[in-house]
Symmetry: C2
Subunit: 318 residues, 2 copies
């Protein structure tokens, strides 16, 4: 016989409600789909031992299956929540069946609510059992969800554009792009930029553009990048001064060439200039064309930014 004692199921099989604190994160998890289709006699009233309905506290209680369907979760989930002490049905039949009262079910629903917001079970327990102090946790969760929402919105936008790009039929695989393209080129700057400032938006743009450009377009963009550097080196050699019209024009051309990878504001341009100047790798790349080019370029960019109303001293990426 397997009938567990109706009293004293207190022998814990798994964890107790311990303390928790912080965490951070993202995402939307996949759970088993719960069929919502009705079942037969759910004992919603009168089938198990007790009288059909009355002052009996267990009247109207549901078995796991019924409760699970009612709450849109699986039976296994309720078992799990019972075993970890998150939602313990307040009754059992003589034969050991779990009985969920409306109150239990209300709790189940609250748990589902928070679980869908991806609060860890442990924290949900704390949340439901300790009315005070829950606010902070809730607010944290809300902020998390908000941030998450924004990221998703951008992702959705990116996807839309990707789909569109595909629908227009222009697309080569990354491999094809690579093949046509060699690899000592721009993305490493982008990588450096990301490393230093971590700009998700720009990276998303970059990834999109990388995915939706044809090889020819890539080559054109790369050629332009190269041409710009050549032109810059030339200008520097001709003694063009930062702040002059010629220099500003070149700065704008440089900015536009970066625009092939992501949209670059003047402030961002300034940051890029600084990064070039500070990173030995980039510096070497430019200075190979003409010693001192890196520093000169930085000054050209700064002056151009100023001409566009951006103070290079206070410029930030965002």
């Amino acid at each position: 016989m397997t009938v567990p004692l109706p009293r004293d199921r207190g022998t814990r099989r798994e964890v107790d409600p311990p303390k928790v604190d912080l965490a951070t994160a993202t995402s939307i998890s996949r759970r088993k789909e719960v069929p919502t289709t009705g079942r037969l006699g759910d004992m919603a009233s009168g089938s198990l031992p007790s009288r059909p309905d009355a002052g009996d506290p267990d009247a109207g209680a549901l078995t796991v299956g019924a409760a699970a369907r009612a709450a849109g979760v699986t039976v296994r989930t309720l078992h799990h929540w019972d075993s970890v002490g998150l939602v313990r049905p307040s009754g059992r039949t003589t034969s050991g069946y779990r009985l969920y009262t409306p109150w239990d079910l209300a709790r189940v629903h609250r748990v589902v609510l928070y679980r869908d917001l991806d609060v860890p079970l442990e924290e949900i327990g704390a949340l439901l059992d300790a009315p005070e102090g829950a606010d902070a946790s809730l607010r944290r969760q809300r902020d998390l969800v908000r941030e998450r929402l924004h990221r998703l919105e951008r992702a959705a936008g990116a996807l839309d554009r990707l789909v569109e790009a595909r629908e227009r039929g222009i697309l080569l695989s990354a491999e094809e792009q690579v093949a046509l393209f060699g690899e000592s080129w721009q993305p490493s700057s982008a990588v450096g930029a990301r490393e230093r400032w971590g700009h998700t938006d720009q990276w998303a743009q970059y990834a999109e553009r990388a995915a939706s450009r044809t090889a020819a377009e890539w080559q054109a963009a790369a050629a332009e990048s190269d041409a710009v550097v050549t032109a810059l080196a030339d200008a520097m050699g001709r003694g063009v001064r930062p702040g002059s019209d010629a220099a500003d024009a070149l700065a704008e051309r440089h900015r536009a060439s970066l625009g092939a990878y992501f949209d670059v504001t003047h402030a961002m341009h300034v940051c890029v200039g600084r990064m070039y100047a500070e990173d030995p790798g980039f510096a070497e790349h430019h200075d190979a064309r003409r010693p001192g080019l890196t520093a000169w370029l930085r000054d050209v960019i700064d002056a151009n930014a100023r001409a566009h109303g951006v103070d290079p001293e206070t410029a930030t990426w965002e």
Copy 2:
């Protein structure tokens, strides 16, 4: 020495890209927070064996740590993705260090995108590698994203409301409510309703209201529910006919009392009436007050709905 062969690391340690299809779900998962703070010499150019920069195909490649920071994931994650074949760095140093090229990194970014949308890794692989049919899967993914966005939005809304409710400070735990309140009451109707029609929105409303009502309010609501049934039984006893003004008034009062748990339209009200009539549990509950009350109430509700322009024969929950 641990140097793995640069060629033929093809000996799979884990899964291959198999076929997959659909799924459903919810939620927002928590992942380890990835510190975004800069590190020292990231070999963004020139540090490992190779020349600083040149026609070398591995120039500008990143080590795991650098790539991880660039993509906002952990090193372990990249290891994992490598081991399951999702993102394999296209190079290794002679000492076995993984080298991520910009192209690898672009792939990592795309993977992150999908992972954030909670696509299982397996599916992501299929998605990114699919030579054709990619359009279809892309579109599917986009739809998926849209759906999840909506869920998230609703989740965020629910959270806002919960936070607000808690901030207003009126709150008792479910247990306190039970203590003040007994358990043979309304939620079981709500349970029945959910069982039969599965109305998530209404349940969310119910959960929220349950979470944001004080004990006094609960008692008032319950008392009103009870009073309504009494009044109904009375009216039936006095021979009030469905469709009469008195009956309609009572129907509206009944509808309003349900409104304490969630908003009930006339169409929904009709459905509730039918459910009462069809479910032995509910029927018994009402008929205990006065035999035949259930059927009479159903008729009263139907008539009232008709009076409000809703055809009870075609009424559906939504």
